[in-house]
Amino acid sequence: MISEHITAKLVQLLTKENVITEQEDLLVLGYDSTPGLHAMPDIVVYPVSSEQVRDIMIIARDEGIAITPRGSGTGLSGGSIPIQGGIVICLNKLNKILEIDEENLTATCQAGVVTLDLFNAVAEKGLFYPPDPGSQKISTMGGNVMEDAGGLRGLKYGVTRDYVMALKCVLPDGSLLSTGGKSVKDVAGYAFKDLLVGSEGTLGIITEITVKLIPPPQDKKTFLTYFDDIRTAGEAVSKIIAAKIIPSTMEIMDKATINCVEDYVSIGLPREMAALLLIEVDGHPAVVAEEAIAVNKILEQVGAAEIHIAKDAEEAVSLAEARRTALSALARVCPTTLLEDATVPRSLLPETFTLIEKLAEKYHLRVGTFGHAGDGNLHPTVLCDERDKDEMRRAHAFYDELYEQVLEWGGTVSGEHGIGIAKKDYLARQIGAGGVAVMRRVKNSFDPQGILNPGKIFESKQES
């Protein structure tokens, strides 16, 4: 519980409007998009300036209160859930785009700016910010950086990390850290910025972000390809890469996902097909034309059932939009969607599909699989009902066994969603006790009191 004098201090600092204490408000600020996770904050604050973020942190530090940063709550591993209560600090009102620097090709914005808003603002100036997580219409830049969000264009353009040039943040002791800058090269000291990206809000609270921009591709061609067997789709992915073609997008959906997405968007996706691949090649028109021919040839060679080419940019966008709804659309058919983020070296995609099928059968589960095939990043999603205890137990056994094999193949337990609360055990398996111990030491050096987003990524010392 937060004492009255702390509440009063926060109100004095932020005004009453930006300090939330009503139970009904608190109740809906203790979840994100991860199924089954919820915790009540004691108080929620909405700072409107970087200075206020620092002042809030100082109050938390002095009073020893847990403090958890939150954006739009679209995370998929529980990163913004306040499992020890305390303060939730919502950064949504820090939502200004501060600068678009056309000479240095950078954009600087506050942490609460919505990803798509930044994308659109730079696009207006003829520039391109590639990271495009599925939730880009809602997710915030701060959240993207903290989770190192990926997206549909990861294969060619990389993920959020590859675009972060500078960060300003508030550390748990209330000090300010400014790391990186607009210089293309920078090897001065430890690369704190790289440590902070993907740190899931456990090391500092970001207030300002500078990202790299690039010129947009001049042309693109989008393929929608259907397969009778999902393994053939996997094979197509590996063959395209082996032919030294890097498409900007290679997204896969299995039959269950195709059907759910079609239920929602009604754009004529083939309900009877085992899988589809959405492939996009982009760049200089001459290169695009050449690569498109090569991709088409490979798709024919591996035996794709049907190959379609989007007739215009509008159709290409609508296909990508449809793909972005995959996870939410799967939720149509069941109350609970348990989603995972297994990632393997992409040459192992066909084997991974076989494994998922085998395990789904073994544990009597309905599984819908979609993901970024080009990145080897799959989201096998168990369609279940959290009220059915036995089914939930089987779902967890399914993931246990899946991850065991994924790790054996040299894969990772999270490609882009982060560890958060949900996958602490799996991380420990991946990096071992030694790896966790080093992470803990890093965490301690930033946050000796253990107040910032406690209980995430790994068990804190007190718990273990």
Binding site: L27, V28, S135, L327, S328, A331, T336
Partner: protein, 433 residues
Amino acid sequence: MTGTKQLGNFTPEDAPEYGDVLQCMRCGFCLPTCPTFSLTGRERSSPRGRVALARAVSEGKLEFNQAMKEEAYFCLDCRACTTACPSGVKAGEVMEICRAQAHQQQPLPKWQSVFRNFILQKMLPSPDLLETSMLPARLYQKLGIQWLVRNSKILKLAPAWIDKAEGMIPEMHQPLRQQIPQFSPATTEKRGTVAFFLGCVMTLMYAEVSRQTVRVLNHQGYDVITPKEQKCCGAPHLTEGDRETTRTLATHNLDLFMKLDVDAIVTDCAGCGSALKEYEEILAERQDHNRLEHFRHKIKDISEFLVEVGIRTEGLKPVNKVVTYHEPCHLCHAQGITKQPREAIQSIPGIELREMDESSWCCGSAATFSLKFTEESQKILDRKLNNVKKTEADVLITANPGCHLQLAWGLRQAEMPQPVLHLSELLGEATPD
């Protein structure tokens, strides 16, 4: 969506189904589409937040308290979130049901509940009473009292909603129901017969619009039957949480219209159309499923019907105007009708349809929302008017009386030049005598 056994802190009668609230996986796709969330930035005033509150109530973690009631009514029920939700969650419907819960769990003070029950259970279900009640309003205009009131600005002293309500009243004519013939024959080569569902607000406040609807249908080759015994569709009762009266009215209208041998039941009110199409769910436990489905398939919005049968354009008079179209929530979100009104507009020779930004964003009318939350409603309306302004269109077209009242009032207040026309009026302008 009617449960039979107690679900958490909901009462058994007219409670949300647990499955319907569990369906939300909290992805947040609804957030950028919600006018009230956009206005407040408050999670509990978002579809995701509202469903989470309803879930907490159904799991016994939250009482059905004042906040729950506030959110049930603060929701515009615009259904933009239903369109945006890939998971198929119907947050608007859940809130509508929560309004029924609010009346069970938090009864109004005596005088308010007597007034509410009189309006919902006596006046609205009785066309005669309803029409008589409008007499003072017509006299008020005819005798020049309106002119006096508006010019003296005396209502600036009253609560904001009274001033606004007075300002919204359009020029009123004799209610259409009393004058419209029960049978109105096709005026060109006959294609079929349709029944016309004449909404309460249409007959009372927009008689001229519905007159045009019938005229357009006749000219398109349809005999039109308008049964005098029809009653209110029950939509106001749904939005006010009186689902039982809706069922009574629905049963009456269902029996009445199913007796007619018609190709379709056409309406020019998006709110009515949406409610009529929901009879299938509302009466699910009381009526034969096939009969309800049959009825459901016959209900057509005027634009939906005309585009489906194909608009006869020969002989249409050119209308040389630039128009922009505001989509009523209960047409585009509740009924999924977005292409047909545009196609109908563009079938008129000479017309230019210039799209506004955010054409499917609510105008802030939302039944009684515009009077209950005058300030919030104004902000939502301003956003809409700004989008209208940017088009520089000559005319603003819409297809629902609630939007019509709100937009016409807003344009007048903002001293903008555009008149608001119902799609039927525009079609009427192009239809030769």
